[in-house]
Assembly symmetry: none
Homo-oligomer: 217 residues x 4
Amino acid sequence: MEIENSTSASPRKWHRRKQARPDEISKAALIAFAQKGYAAATMADIAKLAGITKGTIYLYFKNKEDLFNALVREHIVDRLAAHFSGMENSEDVISAINHCFDVVSDMALTEEVLVLGRVITAEARNFPAIAQFWGAEVIDSLLDLVTALLRRGGAQGTLGAVNPEAAARLCLALVLQELIWHPSFNVGDREHSDPRSMMELQRAIIIQGIRAAQVFV
Amino acid sequence: MEIENSTSASPRKWHRRKQARPDEISKAALIAFAQKGYAAATMADIAKLAGITKGTIYLYFKNKEDLFNALVREHIVDRLAAHFSGMENSEDVISAINHCFDVVSDMALTEEVLVLGRVITAEARNFPAIAQFWGAEVIDSLLDLVTALLRRGGAQGTLGAVNPEAAARLCLALVLQELIWHPSFNVGDREHSDPRSMMELQRAIIIQGIRAAQVFV
Amino acid sequence: MEIENSTSASPRKWHRRKQARPDEISKAALIAFAQKGYAAATMADIAKLAGITKGTIYLYFKNKEDLFNALVREHIVDRLAAHFSGMENSEDVISAINHCFDVVSDMALTEEVLVLGRVITAEARNFPAIAQFWGAEVIDSLLDLVTALLRRGGAQGTLGAVNPEAAARLCLALVLQELIWHPSFNVGDREHSDPRSMMELQRAIIIQGIRAAQVFV
Amino acid sequence: MEIENSTSASPRKWHRRKQARPDEISKAALIAFAQKGYAAATMADIAKLAGITKGTIYLYFKNKEDLFNALVREHIVDRLAAHFSGMENSEDVISAINHCFDVVSDMALTEEVLVLGRVITAEARNFPAIAQFWGAEVIDSLLDLVTALLRRGGAQGTLGAVNPEAAARLCLALVLQELIWHPSFNVGDREHSDPRSMMELQRAIIIQGIRAAQVFV
DNA sequence: TATGAATGAGTCTTCATTCAT
DNA sequence: AATGAATGAAGACTCATTCAT
């Protein structure tokens, strides 16, 4: 979380490392976007953080947007895809939902996802392609998955008769708050003791609420 | 310089302008920030929306940041202060919490608050003063209020023994999702039927969950 | 022909002159393009020559290409359009052609036309829109006009039976040489005594040649 | 580093490379300059066309300008020198002039010369040395040659009494149009049927005109 | 009070050139 | 001899801000 300027002791003007560069750059970009947002982070900021010059970035990424997209793909799309497969057919609804929570909160508590989510949330309107992708691939697919599970649970009688869509979005909201609260506004003394355990407490409340629900669709 | 408004004969009607001008500007600014975010919205955009020229904005606001600050003050700070007073001492915890929800969701479903919240969330780091304010005055004060209520409810036995902080944050999360989801990502068929009724469904789940809670601090 | 830097004694940071600016800028642009060509002339060059800053140019012209197009329109298209009207129907072919020569050589000996022609000739490939415009509006329309006259002259027997297209292009070539030779390469002692009288001598040769022609279509 | 060419068994065949490399590069450069002009053609373009990397170019040419100079030297300077020798003393003026036309139009219709001529014409000001050379060695020497021939023809009575300089430049203009018109602006239906035959038609007109000339110096 | 012409620092991006390997 | 990663100095264009009017 500390910005580590890797130029510090560069003995040579440059150093051959085709392999490492793109990673260094995307790491730097993530930090820069986290600190300033997409629009306000400059290529110069990113380069400085990566310990290189602006021009070098363009050897590996077509432009700023491409660099941002690469981050989204690397940290979100690919990871999400890896985790969810065939889960919506699971019969044990409660444990499937719990698994869902586990996976998503593992991801959402990742610094990378938090940062990207925050940036996208705020600046998506300026980058329709990214917004579209995030909306469809991330939000909708999660929502669909959880909604399907809740509906099945309701049908089975395992869960109360909640409106599945409302409940699904409540689950996601639980994750999203992290995105908003995580490291931005703990300027005062409020510092969330432990995000993970807090999430678990909240999850319990929701599951409890769903189980006991008298709320009809 | 203005041709007199033909609807009425009130003499020197345009003196009203002096007061109206800053309001027109901040209305325009809100729209511009909503459409493009803070960084991407230009003073020219704002001026155009307000039907004036760039220079005029600087007669009423020191600079872009000042203009944004004014919006935050007008739409969030002042309104919040008006609504919550002496509420944390209320004895009827459940209805106090419900009132809380009502007030906050009234606010959060306001276009103005949504916009500002979103922008702050994303670009707060570029405006430490605003971030500080938003964190302390908005987030923390709400959190403190709800936490206090929940704690009293737990002590009274009116509510289950939830961790009051976790539950409080869950309540806020419910509101925050609105901020994030409102009009950005409805790309697919997901289009929140009715934000307010959805919120009520969710609120019911949470209250249910809290009531039934066996989750100990 | 001397580059006159109009900033010399600017007593104020800037000066209101909406009317004069665009002209000053296009004058400066013409000089810059003449000195360096389209690609190599920078907006900073142009601004400096105009005694203003880069940003100001963009108040009057959308971008570099727009600025160049404006020059072409102003100095070539509009002028050409003004001169030729109904000429291709003239019965006195010889004098029509002579008039043609007069008009075109008046224009072609203008510093502005020479510069623009030269730049377009060389860099048109990189700016297809400009090339298209110049090709169709300037070259083709002249060629068509002269060809028509020559054809009629041949039919009348007033002129020899030359291939009208070849001859038309020869006439234009006469003009084009000016474009290439005018002030670029007189680095040595060759300095065309007087372009206009030289052109007249050449025109006489061509007309002579056409009159006496045995060359059949 | 090269896999041996399978067509022959000649040992160490690639030693040929040492000589071939610069030629490959200049061929590539010519294509690149032809397509984009001097300024817009990049070293990367050239390298790609040559099938090598940018760095390699600098083993053979000091820089971009040097590479361009080499092209001019190779295609224009050397060839010109080879063709014209002792011709200005020829007694049969008409056929000498015709020979002149042949040689020059052979050269001018060469893709290489067209390209270089066009580039020089446009961007000469950025390369004073080249402009100087082109002006003195190419233009002036041709002009001098033709002028001398025409003057002698006039003195002999073989040709009419034209102004020899004007006529000489008219001859060159005929060639120059090719340089300008060749592949840039054939936008409409104008597409020079056959440049060579067109040139011959035009040449006939000029010679006709010179022969019949009553135009006195 | 309002204008709008002008500024100039700053942004993304390109590209000739260098140089360790 | 050849590579190709890296540089850094531009270049076109934008925009918050100023200020004479």
